[in-house]
């Protein structure tokens, strides 16, 4: 690899977090992250928020988080972030080069009420824990109350900004530490020749306030398909402001650690050639345009194959199906990641809008099937589960649809669905 190629790639400096606590000073040392309560709170405080609370929730604890909103992996390129989360904390410029420190095994998570936010549940232990990526991380949970009279959009903006600031603040504590691992992420332009060139086409939800996702701090709602380097994801180029569809949600954390990008980086038979971000518009005409245009873009990039992901259900299936068909028409072999909506008993038709030409589909599970959650000792994010009007710590029966990222459409989970017997 010559110097030019190295310069275009990203070096990931990984610091493993194995323990999390609140304390007086923010310190990272030998896997233990201590977070200054005062510093973190002051980073979140905002005129739109009446009260900000901080708590820790680690894997295996008898804790349930309800009303889980966005989650972020701590990362920083230098004091104050050094350009991560462009458009929010850093200048709105493409990141994804140089070095980035990440705190692997940790997340900063907001929990509470926002409009249109469907209740999302995380059990940190018990039978449902394996369904959620945030049950496997040491979580710094930010709880909040709206200031009297504050506009909800200001509350949402304050929570999002606060999450990103705290994520950078805690990662800054590791800037001077020796990493546990150094991972080189080459620029896609420098990927080996002779292998099939694969694009990751990631649809991101653009359905208005509280159901929007930001690229360089902007909504893609009126945009077209956009090509970015997969390495930009690690630096927070994509930030979620989408709080619906608990199980079918793609939090910032999973954009930063995009599972399909990660799987392709590990694959010796394929080349990760491009990441294409596409809006998920709500109008049929716009869906058709975005799909046809994205397929042309992928053809123009010389892709041989694509893996397509989405966010949300029903409406979002149409975007995946249309795009799969258009990609196949362009001669690009395509696999789509779908959630099934087959009813509680699993006998309904699985897909609202199936593709007609492209038929290679991976199932992240049936969203309607019920799961049982045993009672737990402590709840964060609220006292009562409004969905069932029950105390949050009770024994509960919920559809998989209510478990945070249980059917993550970016492909994080092992949950799947098949015919019985």
């Amino acid at each position: 690899m010559n110097a030019g190629e190295a310069g275009a790639g990203l070096r990931r400096l990984v610091h493993e977090v194995r323990e999390l606590a609140l304390g007086d000073r923010t310190v990272y040392e030998a896997g233990r992250l201590t977070v200054s309560e005062e510093a973190a709170r002051s980073l979140v405080e905002d005129p739109a928020l009446a009260e900000v609370g901080l708590a820790c929730a680690s894997p295996g604890e008898p804790v349930r988080i309800i009303g889980a909103l966005d989650a972020v992996q701590p990362c920083s390129k230098g004091p104050g972030g050094g350009g991560v989360f462009p458009g929010f904390l850093g200048p709105a410029l493409p990141p994804g080069r140089g070095e980035t420190h990440v705190l692997r095994g940790a997340a900063v998570l907001a929990a509470g009420h926002l409009p249109r936010a469907q209740e999302a549940v995380i059990d940190m232990s018990g039978p449902v824990a394996p369904l959620s990526p945030l049950a496997a991380t040491h979580n710094l949970v930010i709880e909040f109350e709206r200031a009297p009279g504050a506009a909800w959009e200001d509350v949402e903006a304050a929570v999002r900004r606060g999450l990103l600031r705290v994520a950078v603040h805690v990662a800054d504590a590791a800037l001077e530490c020796d990493p546990d691992a150094v991972e080189e992420l080459p620029d896609p332009a420098a990927t080996p020749e002779g292998r099939p060139r694969v694009g990751v086409v990631t649809n991101i939800q653009t359905q208005g306030k509280y159901k929007d996702v930001f690229v360089y701090g902007r909504s893609l709602s009126t945009g077209l398909a956009t090509l970015i380097s997969p390495n930009e994801l690690d630096d927070g180029a994509v930030v979620s402001g989408q709080y619906g569809h608990p199980a079918l949600k793609n939090p910032t954390y999973l954009h930063q650690t995009h599972p399909v990008v990660a799987a392709l980086r590990e694959c010796d038979d394929l080349s990760l050639a491009a990441l294409v971000l596409c809006p998920e518009p709500v109008e049929q005409g716009a869906k058709e345009l975005i799909s046809a245009h994205a397929a042309r873009l992928c053809a123009g990039l010389g892709l041989d194959a694509a893996i397509l992901t989405k966010e949300g259900g029903g409406n979002a299936d149409a975007d995946v199906s249309l795009k799969m068909d258009r990609l196949e028409e362009e001669g690009i072999t395509t696999v789509g990641v779908f959630a099934e909506m087959a009813g509680r008993d699993g006998t309904g038709p699985s897909l609202v809008v199936p593709p007609s030409r492209a038929t290679a589909m991976v199932s992240v599970g049936n969203y309607d099937e019920l799961v049982s959650l045993p009672a737990c000792e402590r709840a964060l994010g609220g006292d009562r589960l409004a969905l069932l009007d029950r105390p949050a710590t009770d024994e509960l029966e919920l559809p998989a649809a209510a478990i945070y990222c249980a059917l993550n459409p970016l492909g994080w989970g092992n949950l799947t669905c098949a015919e019985a017997g």
């Binding site: 306030k209 893996i307 409406n315 990641v337 009813g343 099937e369 970016l410 492909g411 017997g421």
Partner: protein, 341 residues
């Protein structure tokens, strides 16, 4: 075995659509197609009674089934058969409900209907065997039903070889690898030339034949329906914002429009800000009333129906459709405007 047979008002000879509100009753012995079924069943089995209910009544009163099953048990029923319902949606739903109620009461039960009948998905795990599409195929349909009944009476499980239809349940489980890793593996399979590999088979959907256009709208009674999660302010029925399992009805009598603060949308799939600021955007009562006053339509139904179309299962949506059709039919409504969001 002592068998009770369920049929609708039409096959019981009570009447057609005008008699669809017929209340449930139990008659002695076989009736209508039951006579042929009794002959096909042979001497080992006897149809001791026939349960009859109007299709509209059965669609609107799901408790009809438990009541008829109770009466059937009093007659000493040991097995219950229903149909064949062919492609008739309300009849199929009724057959499904009564076999489910019988199974819950511990009676072996089976129904017969066409694979496109919306009632098929209401039968849950209770067996259904295939029938023809229309009454013209009564004879082969009854032969298959009789054969399946004899087998069920013998304590055997019905299979596809007996004409058993209905979807096979898909069940969640944990795979060894993540969905992302499986997507990469599937892509490699496809690139390797496997054109079939997939984790989800393509579903098949029903074909719905639209009703004929209304001959003269000026004579037609029109209903307003919506899947926009449209409820009186405060959502007294607690209609779900997503994955609805029910629908609601509210009166429109005495109203010329639906006003901000009196109605709202609880739909979880879109921003309800503009719907709540002007509820007529979801339920267009204001313009519908104008059309009514101009005489462009004959009149408006006295109430609206609403559910939330957001992640609703196909089975629930089918049931709402059958129930709404029965309600509107009974109220002599000729046309409906269903606003989608």
């Amino acid at each position: 075995m002592r068998v009770v047979h369920y049929i609708n008002q039409f096959f019981a000879g009570v009447g057609g659509e005008e008699a669809a509100g017929t209340e449930p009753e139990l008659r002695e012995g076989p009736v209508g197609p039951g006579k042929r079924l009794a002959a096909l069943l042979g001497d080992e089995h006897e149809i001791v009674a026939t349960a009859v209910c109007g299709d509209d009544h059965a669609s609107e009163h799901s408790d009809f089934a438990a009541a008829l099953v109770e009466s059937a048990r009093e007659k000493g029923a040991e097995l219950l058969v229903a149909g064949p319902a062919f492609t008739s949606g309300r009849y199929g739903l009724a057959c499904a409900r009564i076999v489910v109620a019988a199974a819950e009461a511990g009676l072996p039960a089976l129904a017969a209907m066409h694979p496109d009948n919306p009632g098929l998905h209401e039968a849950a795990g209770t067996p259904v065997v295939e029938s023809g599409a229309t009454g013209r195929e009564m004879r082969p349909s009854l032969e298959r039903l009789a054969a399946a009944t004899r087998k069920l009476a013998g304590g055997e499980e019905l299979t596809a070889d007996d004409g058993r239809i209905g979807p096979v349940a898909r069940v969640n489980h944990m795979a060894e690898r993540s969905a992302a890793e499986r997507a990469v593996a599937l892509l490699l399979d496809r690139l390797g030339g496997d054109r079939e590999a997939t984790e989800i088979p393509l579903p098949t959907f029903d074909q719905v034949t639209p009703a004929d256009p209304v001959a003269d709208p000026a004579d037609a009674l029109v209903a307003l329906l919506t899947e926009g999660g449209f409820v009186p302010a405060g959502n007294p029925d607690r209609l779900e914002s997503a994955r609805a399992t029910k629908w609601v009805r509210h009166s429109l009598e005495g109203r010329d429009s639906v006003e901000e603060g009196e109605f709202e949308s609880v739909h979880g799939g879109f921003s309800t800000q503009w719907a709540n600021a002007e509820p007529n955007r979801i339920l267009p009562l204001d313009v519908a009333r104008e059309l009514e006053q101009e005489g462009a339509i004959g009149g408006l139904h006295t109430e609206y129906f609403a559910t939330t179309g957001n992640g609703t299962t196909v089975a629930d949506a089918r049931r709402f459709g059958v129930e709404w059709a029965a309600e509107l039919h009974e109220a002599r409504i000729q046309a409906a405007i269903l606003t989608a969001t």
